[in-house]
Symmetry: C2
């Protein structure tokens, strides 16, 4: 594949930025990739493992002459970074981001953007429970979705170029408006994360069921919650603070349904439980058919030939 941007600057060097750097290198999508991280320790690590072509000590230096600048910092830090780099952006450059919330990022970043810069927010739906510069890998985005949320009046050419980059990094691309994005993600990601965090917190609090028992006997269900609840705390704090309305709405729906099931348990209404559990099976089939997960039992942890 050929070069899509001459110079790409990654601001923030965590799991997503690191994976982008490696995915771009894999296909030669950028002639040069620069990177900046807030802490010296992260910058040192990035240099040591040769994560990007050039690690810079300031964000301003990293964005100099960049054709694409991608903000890969927690959602709550986007505004301040945008303000800092704005005067130093190359005319005609594209600025994008990878935040899990889109309305709040647009509200925080857009006001700082010069008129001669294209702002094209995006959100790759990919990640793991690991974080930091050493957690990235080139195949993270393969066959995952990247949602592009162009601002009103965005240049179609700038959008198409960013889309080509994400496709080059292995992703499928869709466009969506910001508010709809935030609602869909509240359902598929934000609320499930909050629930997983809560369940793991409950287990941690229960002194009658000691920690070691909870950990030893975690195989059946709880284990999957702990993986989700091991995700980066700063990132998730910002997600909930900035996608407050949609998350609270879906949480309201969730507790309403949970109380209905709780009532069925209390009243011994087995038919309601059976019908409910039968209905949820179909969704799983849809996800496997859509190619977004494996049908291997227990996520492939169960090795049939072991």
């Amino acid at each position: 594949m050929s070069v899509i941007y001459n110079r790409v600057a990654l601001i923030g060097l965590g799991l997503i930025a690191g994976s982008m750097a490696l995915a771009m290198r894999r296909r030669g999508l950028a002639a040069e990739v620069t990177g900046y991280a807030r802490t010296a320790a992260t910058r040192d690590t990035a240099r040591r493992i040769n994560l990007v072509d050039r690690v810079c000590d300031t964000a301003v230096e990293a964005v100099k002459d960049a054709d694409l600048v991608v903000l890969c910092v927690p959602v709550g830090a986007m505004g301040a970074v945008a303000q800092e780099i704005a005067p130093h952006l190359k005319p005609g450059a594209t600025v994008s981001d990878v935040g899990s919330v889109k309305r709040a990022v647009i509200d925080a970043v857009q006001p700082h953007m010069p008129a001669n810069v294209h702002f094209v927010p995006a959100h790759p739906l990919a990640g793991t429970e690991h974080s930091g510069p050493e957690s990235g890998f080139a195949t993270l985005f393969d066959n995952r979705w990247c949602l592009i949320v162009p601002a009103e009046g965005a240049s179609p050419q700038a959008v198409a170029q960013l889309q080509a980059l994400w496709q080059g990094m292995g992703a499928n691309v869709d466009q969506m408006d910001a508010d709809h994005h935030d609602l869909v993600l509240a359902v598929t990601s934000h609320t499930p994360h909050l629930i997983a965090y809560t369940m793991v917190g409950v287990a941690d609090d229960l002194r009658r069921v000691t920690d070691s028992e909870v950990i030893k006997y975690s195989a059946a269900g709880f284990r999957d919650f702990t993986r989700i609840a091991a995700s980066d705390p700063t990132m998730w704090r910002d997600v909930f603070l900035t996608n407050k309305d949609a998350t609270l709405e879906i949480l309201g729906r969730f507790t309403e349904e949970l109380f209905a099931l709780q009532r069925a348990i209390r009243q011994g209404d087995g038919d309601l439980l059976f019908d409910y559990f039968t209905r949820t099976r179909a969704i799983r089939r849809g996800i496997i058919e859509a190619g977004q997960d494996t049908d291997a039992p227990d996520f492939g942890r169960a090795k049939k030939d072991g």
Copy 2:
């Protein structure tokens, strides 16, 4: 390994029984394994795939001369099966089960057991979201826990023999009393399952977020819930109906914590969220150190070398 029981009868031929049959065959732990399933279709499948040595058309025939009878049916069906087979059990035989709830199984089965039979309930903490006779595999129990819950006055020799069988099938064995078992499992398995079912049900109900969007964009969190929520509906209905008290207690704790986090989101209390999410990370580390999960990112779905 040498033969531990001369004849083993498996009543019910689903994921757990099928995996037991294959795990016993792998190490030659039983001279003969018989099996019985309620439906002719399941019995036919079991015969076709040669799951056990002999598939019987009645439970009574299957338990004849068996040294160990294992009830592998949903918890709600245990009592009726126990009553049916009781008069036909070999004197000195051991009867066990694999139910996810122990107090209710003991209450349902114990009254039917003849005085000359050893009743030793057990619960292997292993499974996948698949079910039926073709879902079993020999390695399902490898390095998983099996909790043995001996009735009061159980023969130490009968308990030791069952323990040896589970160890031979690859499991680690612990003993626990029934009520404590039910509480621990309410935390590590039953409540997480109910929550996952609920979240998937919410997503299914939301018509504004269409099914296809929820399915397409499921990668980040929700996908793991759908796997859990694809488990066998009959089995799980019975779990909640029969472990009602412990499940309702843990659910109460869960909603209490969830409301505290919901309030923090509404009030914008980022410190509370950050501290909570930081604390839950430690539990994940404990589970990986205890050998009950992999540290591979995203359960190994993310292939770094792909």
